[in-house]
């Protein structure tokens, strides 16, 4: 079960550097959106980096929200009112480019086109999801801290990949 989640773990490490570097959260367009963003940040961020909605199209987010009882191998079920707030926030701020996702794995950020077409290479590893994620690259738009921070993120990522 944990293998299925490793790609996400890797994405978390990538995005951790980006999120800690940017103090400002994604721009919320309305007071309701802002409230929903708080729930999204608290609930999704309880287990991993709260992945920004624009990383996936709304169809992918809707599938994820429909199946929180089996969320990449773990139970992330949540009370309906909170789930509705999160779903609204994801829907309102989702990517407008549905073709970016992997056709055979549309829920996995680490398989989406933007994640898999940048220039940083990671060592190849045995194993399915981990291997594909390890080949993936961190786009500059996502890892945007200072040079020192960037190096840290990369070395943390690589030690994770090789552990």
């Amino acid at each position: 079960m944990s293998h299925a989640f490793k790609g996400l773990g890797l994405a978390v490490l990538c995005l951790a550097g980006w999120q800690s570097a940017s103090a400002t959260p994604p721009v919320a367009s309305s007071p309701i959106d802002s409230l929903n963003a708080q729930v999204w940040r608290e609930e999704c961020g309880a287990c991993h980096v709260a992945f920004p909605p624009r990383l996936l199209p709304s169809s992918s987010w809707a599938d994820i929200m429909r199946n929180l009882k089996d969320h990449f191998g773990t139970d992330a079920s949540i009370e309906t009112p909170l789930a509705q707030q999160i779903a609204s926030y994801l829907e309102a701020n989702a990517s407008q480019k549905p073709r970016g996702v992997a056709p055979d794995d549309p829920l996995r950020i680490t398989r989406s086109r933007w994640f898999c077409t940048s220039t940083m290479k990671f060592p190849r590893q045995r194993g399915g999801a981990l291997q594909s994620a390890a080949r993936a690259i961190v786009p500059r738009a996502i890892v945007r801290p200072s040079r020192a921070d960037s190096t840290n993120t990369q070395s943390k990522f690589q030690s994770e990949v090789s552990s």
């Binding site: 079960m1 944990s2 989640f5 490793k6 996400l8 773990g9 978390v12 490490l13 287990c47 991993h48 009882k69 990449f72 191998g73 773990t74 139970d75 992330a76 079920s77 949540i78 009370e79 994770e160």
Partner: protein, 135 residues
């Protein structure tokens, strides 16, 4: 305009209304356990410890909360730090009933493939409280 002292009083009142505590949760689970089983006699730290370390499938509680629930844990998949589980090391634990029930529901399903009974939740909390007394 509200005086600061009034605001402080309102704050304290709302905090006391919103927060439960480990003892209140134990009382509530005890009543539920008795209702479920007439033979229920009380919670056991030993049973709680056994459940905490049991690994029926991929994970045990200790996989993420570590073998010492007073220490900082780590999510085995996302690698995110988890604040200490035992109230002695983290007084905020077991003060929000909705949060407690949410996490027991999720994590018991992950570890045991079913939800925990009120008796099991009480056993685990009794074990965690006993860990606070351990040097």
């Amino acid at each position: 305009m509200l005086r600061p002292i009034t605001i402080a009083c309102i704050g304290l009142l709302s905090a006391s209304l919103a927060s439960a505590g480990p003892n209140e949760l134990l009382q509530s689970w005890k009543a539920a356990a008795k209702a479920q089983s007439p033979t229920f006699t009380g919670f056991s730290a030993e049973r709680g410890r056994a459940l905490y370390f049991s690994k029926p499938a991929d994970w045990s509680c200790s996989t993420c909360h570590t073998s010492d629930p007073r220490s900082v844990g780590r999510h085995v998949v996302t690698k995110k730090d988890i604040k200490p589980f035992a109230p002695a090391a983290n007084p905020a634990r077991f003060t929000d009933e909705a949060k407690v029930e949410k996490w027991f529901r999720r994590n018991c399903r992950d570890v045991l493939q079913r939800e925990c009974t009120p008796a099991e939740k009480g056993d685990v909390l009794t074990f965690l409280l006993s860990e606070g007394a351990r040097p």
